[in-house]
């Protein structure tokens, strides 16, 4: 079972199994594509900050303080897809 597989990887500190799972999720079952997707999201986020625009740090700090870790983890996954979509190269609908 997948969840058991992942929990065993956590307890055994098998980080390669865990990150592979994430890459497969982001790449719709293609690990190499998932690795590129992770890079794409980070590059897109970095590009947005290069000119040091004003950002709402108060909001960020409040969210980090007020919300539980699981909600933030879920948000982290949302942010990945947000930045991938923003990059304009969306692999998930079969067009690319």
């Amino acid at each position: 079972m997948s969840l058991q597989y992942l929990k065993e990887a956590v307890s055994g500190s098998d980080t390669e199994k865990l990150i592979r799972y994430v890459r497969l999720h982001f790449g719709d079952g293609n690990e190499a594509a998932g690795k590129q997707e992770i890079d794409k999201a980070w590059i897109e986020a970095l590009k947005l900050l290069l000119d040091v625009p004003a950002t709402d740090r108060e909001f960020i700090l409040n969210i980090l303080t007020e919300k539980d870790a699981a909600t933030l983890a879920h948000l982290f996954f949302h942010l990945h897809f947000y930045f991938v979509e923003r990059s304009g190269e969306w692999i998930h609908d079969g067009r690319v």
Partner: protein
């Protein structure tokens, strides 16, 4: 090569199923118990049919399926069986939706089922169809929560037949 074979060669992800355990390690379900298919209790022209789909189709403005969660989404949406394709949208990442966005019926044949009911080939349609996303990596939750929730909802609408369609 005839037209049929030519179309076959254009399959977007040939051999996909054979690779599922490689793509999603540990996700294959092994079942030791056997649940036989239920037999029809009355002819199809007298039966109420429902449709259950993993296509991630849902009414516009309903809460989008959680397509980003790494372990999946164990909720379902009711899709009124009288809906028109333009009333519906797809929230799903794990299959190429480009064709379904041109004609929803290729993945969620709602208009075909409406036609079959109008022609009385099917007795009637349940008030709602049922939709969820197929990326569910916890088989126990899929079986014990989502499948049970949908089964109860199907039963509550008095369905005699359920058409199940994976995306």
């Amino acid at each position: 090569m005839d037209e049929f074979d030519e179309n076959k060669s254009k399959q977007l992800r040939p051999g996909l199923w054979a690779t599922v355990n490689e793509r999603y390690p540990g996700s294959m379900i092994t079942k030791s118990d056997f649940v036989p298919l239920a037999k029809l209790k009355k002819p199809l022209p007298e039966s109420r049919l429902t449709f259950v789909s993993t296509a991630g189709v849902q009414p516009k403005n309903s809460l989008p399926f959680d397509t980003v969660h790494p372990v999946g989404d164990y909720t379902f949406r009711r899709v009124p069986s009288k809906s028109k394709p333009e009333d519906l949208e797809i929230h799903q990442l794990k299959y190429p939706t480009v064709g379904a966005e041109r004609d929803l019926n290729v993945i969620f044949p709602i208009e075909r089922l409406q036609e079959l009911a109008e022609e009385k080939i099917i007795g009637s349609l349940s008030p709602n169809f049922f939709s969820f996303i197929g990326y569910n990596m916890n088989p126990e939750m899929l079986e014990e929560k989502l499948a049970k929730d949908i089964a109860e909802a199907v039963e509550a609408e008095g369905s005699d037949v359920a058409l199940l369609a994976p995306a």
